[in-house]
């Protein structure tokens, strides 16, 4: 075994499981469904990762503010999965609450592009935009794990498509 290869390999694992990811996995944000599907502006999505049986049920609560923008008031979720999927759900929750639908679409696109880098260099702008979620860059080197990181984002997109926003006051 060549030592340089070995060093690179260890680095891959550390890179996959960055501290921020391990922390979120151990102490996930948004876990535990809140509100009720009967409430106005609430929609839910259930997604599974068929290769490993991971699942997530995600609930989003949206409202149209006075300026006409649709905003995410709250996101909560429940599910089982690996540390990557749990941490990704947690980081995403923190990132999207309070954002408009357009902003969330941009974030989702940025996250997808991060997953497509295959371990290559990340666009600094994407990194900046994603904040903590940029820590998932290492996942892109492991094609089998990309779906784990994307599961929450897929559930969010699906829930947002289903949601009819309640009309409300200007947010924040």
């Amino acid at each position: 075994m060549t030592s340089s290869k070995w060093v690179k390999h260890m680095a891959d694992l550390q890179d996959l499981y960055r501290q921020i990811i391990l922390d979120h996995a151990r102490n996930p944000q948004g876990r535990g469904l809140i509100g009720s599907l009967q409430d106005g502006g609430v929609a839910q999505s259930h997604q599974v990762n068929p290769t490993c049986g991971d699942e997530i049920t995600l609930r989003a609560h949206v409202m149209r503010d006075r300026s006409g923008d649709v905003r995410i008031l709250d996101v909560s979720w429940e599910g089982q999965g690996c540390s990557i999927s749990q941490a990704s759900s947690s980081v995403m929750t923190e990132l999207v609450i309070g954002q408009t639908l357009t902003q969330v679409e941009d974030l989702a696109a940025a996250f997808r592009s991060l997953m497509d880098t295959r371990g290559g260099t990340v666009d600094p702008q994407v990194e900046e935009q994603l904040g903590d979620a940029a820590a998932f860059a290492g996942v892109s080197k492991f094609p089998a794990r990309v779906k784990c990181a994307l599961l929450a984002w897929i559930a969010l997109r699906d829930a947002l498509l289903k949601a009819t926003p309640v009309e409300g006051e200007r947010h924040g």
Binding site: M1, L13, L16, R26, D54, Q80, C82, C148
Partner: protein, 433 residues
């Protein structure tokens, strides 16, 4: 279950390992590869690799078609491979149908029943016709390949699916044969060895009860044929399916065994060239088995290599293979007997083969697999195509280590060392903060 046969000595095992070139390649990280995923697919020895290539280099021609001598040679090799594989499992060559794998073999039987139910085939095929309310029995331990085709058959025919449960250690509850198999049961489709728990099914009571009520037994022998001495005739099963790629053969080829009189009456599912006798613009008569079930150009090189794989195993002797793997089963079980690790499957090596699935408390199987992979240890994670069995044990996924003839003590030691680091890596048990 496993005889106290002579096991492999170190020299023999080293020679065997040298036959498998892939075992010598390093991992992408530069470590020695520790391959513990043989239940998913086995590695291939040189004689098998050579047979496939030699066919293309020296004998490639259409089988059962040409008048030329090259075609004759190819046909002879193709048919002698059938004989090798058939005798490996204790049956005659004309009772062995080539399929693309076990999944295709099971579907061939299930859709044969569906065709018979639809009135297709000679009147003798009516022995396979199902009535609404007839019962098909499976088990909770089945691979999806031996479950979904039967669900589909039930949906097509109005038959009802029933199943054997498994006990706390994943063993099929064959003691319930008398109640699970009823007068309405027409098919019992059951696994010989579970690809998740490694549990060996005690078939005798199942086969006896099935035949008592006139039901056919379809055996999923995918995980037994590569690891144990198996004789379908002695087991008295009616059909059995297995895949070459799990027993040192190529992908794309497997086999269906069927008792001669049953294959003779079973309607074909895939129709077309090579499987016919007389064809007019409106009708066709079919060739006798096994050709009737082999429509279209067959994977000839793969069949020949499959024959060589069976030969490779029979030259060693399956009793010896099983004895070696029984030692590995015991070693794998002790490797996982550590704090925070729970085995899904039998704890007694007597009841199982060397396939061990487990969960690590507080760490998802995917994460377990990733850390093991980092140490060069290749294991399978997920539900292993057996979701109902995982649900039965209240888990979504397990990690699975599985051994084969070429697995050695060193492989098991590397796995044990890597496994012992998993909980620390994810800081399980430490207070968060």
């Amino acid at each position: 279950m496993v005889d106290k046969a002579e096991t492999l000595d170190r020299g023999e095992l080293a020679r065997i390992r040298a036959d498998f070139p892939l075992l010598a390649r390093p991992t992408p990280g530069g470590q020695d590869l520790v391959y513990l995923d043989s239940a998913a697919t086995s590695q291939k020895p040189d004689p098998v690799l050579d047979a496939e290539q030699d066919f293309y280099i020296m004998r490639n021609a259409a089988v059962h078609r040409g008048a030329h001598s090259l075609s004759n040679e190819a046909t002879m090799a193709f048919e002698s491979a059938r004989g090798q594989v058939a005798s490996f499992v204790g049956v005659e060559a004309d009772e062995l149908v080539w399929t693309s794998g076990a999944t295709a073999a099971i579907n061939l039987v299930a859709y044969g029943f569906a065709n018979a139910t639809a009135g297709i085939g000679p009147s003798a095929a009516q022995r396979f016709a199902l009535q609404p309310g007839d019962e098909i029995v499976v088990s909770e331990a089945e691979h999806h390949a031996n479950l979904i085709p039967w669900q589909q058959l039930a949906a097509r025919t109005g038959a009802v699916l029933r199943w054997f449960g498994v006990d706390e250690q994943g063993r099929v509850r064959v003691d319930e044969s008398a109640t699970v198999i009823t007068d309405r049961t027409r098919i019992v489709a059951i696994t010989h060895v579970s690809n998740v728990t490694g549990a060996i099914t005690d078939l005798a009571p199942v086969v006896a009860r099935a035949h008592e009520v006139g039901a056919y037994v379809v055996l999923d022998a995918c995980q037994s044929v590569p690891h144990l001495p198996v004789n379908f005739r002695d087991l008295d099963v009616d059909f059995a399916a297995f895949s070459a790629h799990k027993m040192f053969g190529p992908t794309g080829i497997g086999a269906l065994y069927g008792k001669r009189d049953l294959l003779a009456d079973l309607p074909p599912v895939t129709t077309g060239g090579s499987m016919v006798e007389v064809v007019t613009m409106t009708e066709a008569t079919f060739a006798p088995p096994p050709g009737r079930f082999e429509a279209g150009t067959q994977p000839v090189a793969q069949a020949i290599a499959f024959g060589v794989a069976a030969q490779y195993l029979s030259e060693l002797g399956m009793a010896k293979v099983a004895a070696h793997e029984a030692e590995l089963a015991a070693a794998l079980l002790s490797a996982v007997a550590i704090e925070g690790v729970r085995v899904i499957g039998p704890t007694d090596p007597q009841d199982r083969i060397a396939v061990v699935s487990f969960v690590v408390d507080g760490v998802h199987a995917h994460d377990v697999g990733q850390v093991l992979d980092d140490a060069g240890v290749a294991v399978r994670v997920g539900h292993h195509c057996a979701q109902p069995l995982h649900r039965r044990f209240g888990v979504a996924a397990t990690a699975r280590v599985s051994a084969s003839l070429y697995t050695n003590e060193h492989d098991v030691e590397c796995f044990a060392t890597a496994l012992s680091t998993v909980r620390d890596f994810f800081k399980v048990g430490e207070a968060y903060g």
